[in-house]
C-alpha cells in the first residue's frame, strides 16, 4: 500500500476557559479531542457533524493556522507539527484552504487580480508578467473570465466570489485543499455549480480534498470517505457508500435519520434525539454521546470508546461493537 498523503494522529485542541478578574484558567473547551485519520492522494474525505463539534478547528490545525495542543500531522512524509514557522510557510504552498464565507475571506479593497497574485508573491512564484497570465488562466479554469481580473469582490455574486476563493487556493498548485463549508452560504442552484466545479478540478488537477460541511447530502455527493464528528471526537469513519447505507454508530444513525429528504413519498425511520448537545467545556464522561444515546449502557458512562475498524475500512467508536457485545448478538 502507498502511504496516505495526509496522516493525522491523536490530534487535540483544548482552548482555555478564562474566568474572574485575573483571567485564571478555570477549565478547557475540548474542541478537538484525540482525532486520528488519514487521507489518500486524489480522494475526498468529507467531515460532517453538528455545529461546534470541532470540524473547523480540525481543519485549521492541519495547516497549523491553529497550533494543536497535542498530536501529529504528517503531510507527504513530512511531519508538519515539527516544522519551524518558516518551513511551515513553505509547506503551505502545497496545502490550501477554501472558506465558507467568500465575503469575509476576500479583501474588499483589492482587485481580483491582486487577490489572486498574492499567494504567488508570498511563495515567490513567477514574475509579474507570468503571474498576470496565471491569474487570467485560473479565472477561466474556475468559470470566470479574464476581464473579471480588474473588478472588486463586491461586484460579484456569492457563487462567483466562491469561485474566486477556489481560484486563489489553486494558484500555488497545491496537492491538498481543505474546504471548510465551501457551499453552505450559497443558494441551491449555485451550490450545484460550485460542487461540479470542484469535482472537475479534482479530476483535472489530481487534487485531494478534505471537505467539511454539515449538509449530509452534499457530503455524500462529493466524498469518497466520510468521517462523522461529535463533541470533538471522530465517532465513525467509512466509505461514503457504507456510511450512508449502513451507519453503525447510534449518533450517525440519528443524524442521517434527521435529514429531510426532498421526496414527499419517502417514509423515514425516524430516530428523534432527546435533549441538546452538551457543552464541550464540560463533556459527559465515557462516551460523550451517552446523555442522548438510546442504547447507552453502564460502561458507556465510564469508558471512552476507541475508534476501531469493525469491518474493512469502516471505523466506529461505540461500545455496542466491543468484542463481548458482538458475541452476544
Amino acid at each position: 500500500m502507498t502511504e496516505p498523503l495526509l496522516k493525522v494522529e491523536g490530534l487535540k485542541k483544548y482552548f482555555p476557559v478564562k474566568n474572574g478578574l485575573f483571567g485564571k484558567t478555570t477549565g478547557h473547551v475540548k474542541a478537538v479531542d484525540d482525532v486520528s485519520f488519514y487521507v489518500n492522494e486524489g480522494e475526498t474525505l468529507g467531515i460532517v457533524g453538528e455545529s461546534g463539534c470541532g470540524k473547523s478547528t480540525t481543519g485549521r490545525m492541519l495547516m497549523r493556522l491553529l497550533e494543536p495542543t497535542e498530536g501529529t500531522v504528517t503531510f507527504d512524509g513530512q511531519e508538519l507539527t515539527k516544522l519551524s514557522p518558516q518551513e511551515m510557510r513553505k509547506a503551505r504552498r502545497e496545502i490550501q484552504m477554501v472558506f465558507q464565507d467568500p465575503y469575509a475571506s476576500l479583501n474588499p479593497r483589492h482587485t481580483v487580480e491582486k487577490i489572486l497574485m498574492e499567494p504567488l508573491i508570498v511563495h515567490n512564484i513567477g514574475d509579474t508578467k507570468s503571474r498576470k497570465k496565471m491569474v487570467r488562466d485560473f479565472l477561466e479554469i474556475v468559470g470566470l473570465s479574464s476581464y473579471h481580473a480588474k473588478r472588486y469582490p463586491h461586484q460579484f455574486s456569492g457563487g462567483q466570489r466562491q469561485r474566486i476563493g477556489i481560484a486563489r487556493a489553486l494558484m500555488t498548485n497545491p496537492k491538498l485543499i481543505i474546504a471548510d463549508e465551501p457551499v453552505s452560504a450559497l443558494d441551491v442552484s449555485i451550490q450545484a455549480q460550485v460542487l461540479n466545479l470542484m469535482q472537475k478540478l479534482q479530476r483535472e488537477l489530481k487534487l485531494t480534498y478534505i471537505f467539511i460541511a454539515h449538509d449530509l447530502g452534499v457530503v455524500r455527493h462529493i466524498s469518497d470517505r466520510v468521517g462523522v464528528m461529535y463533541l470533538g471526537k471522530m465517532v465513525e469513519l467509512a466509505s461514503s457508500e457504507n456510511l450512508y447505507a449502513e451507519p453503525l454508530h447510534p449518533y450517525t444513525k440519528a443524524l442521517l435519520s434527521a435529514v429531510p429528504v426532498p421526496d414527499p413519498n419517502f417514509i423515514r425511520e425516524e430516530i428523534l434525539l432527546e435533549g441538546d448537545i452538551p457543552s464541550p467545556s464540560n463533556p459527559p464522561s465515557g462516551c460523550t454521546f451517552h446523555t442522548r444515546c438510546p442504547f447507552a449502557m453502564d460502561r458507556c458512562k465510564q469508558v471512552v470508546p476507541q475508534l476501531e475498524e469493525i469491518k474493512t475500512g469502516h471505523y466506529v467508536a461505540c461500545h455496542l461493537y466491543d468484542a463481548d457485545m458482538i458475541d452476544k448478538n
Binding site: S51, D187, H214, A254, L256, P260, P262, N265
Partner: protein
C-alpha cells in the same frame, strides 16, 4: 382537502423599496392563498422576496424605504392592506403571528424568558392578572415541549440553546391562538437533529390546534416533509404553486425542475449534479420578459419580450411559463403531428 376555505389571500401584492438605485419591486405581483389548517411552504433562493412577502402580510415593512405599492392582503375576506397601525396590532396580536429568521435577535437578552412570555400574554389578554399570565406562559412553554417550564421562566435567553430559544419563540407566537402562523426559516440556524424536533413540533401544533402555517424555507427537503402545498418564488414572483406531491413528482416550471435536480439526495449518489447556469438576477434588474429567461434551457422567442402570467395547468396547480400557455401547447402538438 382542496375545498378548505382560504384564511389568508395575497392578491397582486407588490412591495417596493425606494432606494438610491431607484424603485425596486422586491415582491412583484405575488398571488397565493393560505387555507384553513394547512401548512403552506414558500421556497425560493436568497433575495427572491420570501421575507418581504411575509413582512408585508404582517404590516411590518420598514417605511421608508419600503411600501406596499399595489394589491391587497385579505384576512378572512377583509382587506387589511389599508389598516391603521392600531388595527394591525390587533391582527398581529390575535390572528396572524410570526416567527422570525434569527431567534436570537427576536428575544431581548436583558429580560427573563418569563417576563417576555408574560408580556406577550398580557398584550393579548386584557384584564388578566399576573398570576393568570404566569400560568398561561408556563402552559405554553410546556405545550412546545420544553422541560422544566417553571424554572425556565427565570432564565435569560443566553442560558438556552438555539433549539430551546426557537421553541420559546414558537410558544410566544402561539399565546394568542393565532389562526395563521408565519414561520420564516425557523430552523435554518439549527442543527439537523434539532431541526427535526422543531419541525415535528410545528406539525403537531398544526394538527392539534388547527393553526395554518406558512413555512418559509430554502430547503426542499423540509418542504417535502412538512408541507401540503408549496409556492415557489423566483426574483420577486411566484413561478409555480401546487400540492407538494405534484410539485416534486411533476414539476412544470423550468426553474422548479432545475432546482429539484440540483439538490444532492443523501439516499443515493448521482453521477453529476444538474446545475442551473448563471446567477440569480439582482432585484429590479430584469425589466422585460420572463425573469428566468437568461438561465432557462427552454427559452424561446417570446420569453425575452413578454412577461408570462400564472397559467392554471391543473385544478390545483399553477405555473408562470409560456410553455404552459394553452395556445403554445396546441401549436406544439400541431408541430409534432405535422413533423
Amino acid at each position: 382537502m382542496t375545498n378548505r376555505k382560504a384564511v389568508l389571500e395575497v392578491k397582486n401584492l407588490q412591495t417596493s423599496f425606494f432606494t438610491d438605485d431607484g424603485v425596486i419591486p422586491s415582491v412583484d405581483f405575488v398571488d397565493f392563498e393560505v387555507r384553513e389548517g394547512e401548512i403552506l411552504g414558500i421556497v425560493g433562493e436568497s433575495g427572491s422576496g420570501k421575507s418581504v412577502t411575509s413582512l408585508s402580510v404582517m404590516g411590518l415593512i420598514p417605511s421608508p424605504p419600503g411600501k406596499i405599492t399595489s394589491g391587497e392582503i385579505r384576512y378572512n375576506g377583509a382587506d387589511i392592506t389599508g389598516y391603521s397601525e392600531k388595527q394591525m396590532r390587533q391582527i398581529r396580536g390575535n390572528d396572524i403571528a410570526m416567527i422570525f429568521q434569527e431567534p436570537m435577535t427576536s428575544l431581548n437578552p436583558l429580560f427573563t424568558i418569563g417576563s417576555q412570555m408574560m408580556e406577550a400574554v398580557l398584550l393579548h389578554k386584557k384584564g388578566w392578572s399576573k398570576k393568570q399570565a404566569h400560568a398561561r406562559s408556563v402552559e405554553m412553554l410546556k405545550l412546545v415541549g420544553l422541560p422544566r417550564a417553571e424554572e425556565l421562566m427565570k432564565d435569560y435567553p443566553h442560558q438556552l440553546s438555539g433549539g430551546m430559544r426557537q421553541r420559546v419563540m414558537i410558544a410566544m407566537a402561539l399565546v394568542c391562538d393565532p389562526k395563521v402562523l408565519i414561520a420564516d426559516e425557523p430552523t435554518t440556524a439549527l442543527d439537523v437533529t434539532i431541526q427535526a424536533q422543531i419541525l415535528k413540533l410545528m406539525k403537531d401544533l398544526n394538527t392539534r390546534l388547527n393553526t395554518a402555517i406558512i413555512l418559509i424555507t430554502h430547503d426542499l427537503g423540509v418542504v417535502a416533509e412538512t408541507c401540503e402545498r408549496v409556492v415557489v418564488m423566483y426574483a420577486g414572483k411566484v413561478v409555480e404553486e401546487g400540492p407538494v406531491e405534484r410539485i416534486f413528482t411533476n414539476p412544470q416550471h423550468p426553474y422548479t425542475k432545475g432546482l429539484l435536480a440540483s439538490v444532492p439526495d443523501m439516499r443515493f449518489k448521482k453521477q453529476s449534479l444538474y446545475s442551473i447556469p448563471g446567477n440569480v438576477p439582482k432585484p429590479g434588474s430584469i425589466k422585460e420578459g420572463c425573469r428566468f429567461a437568461a438561465r432557462c434551457s427552454e427559452v424561446f422567442g417570446r420569453c425575452t419580450v413578454e412577461s408570462p402570467p400564472l397559467y392554471q395547468t391543473a385544478p390545483d396547480h399553477k405555473t408562470r411559463c409560456f410553455l404552459y400557455d394553452p395556445e403554445e401547447v396546441t401549436a406544439h402538438d400541431r408541430a409534432i403531428v405535422e413533423s
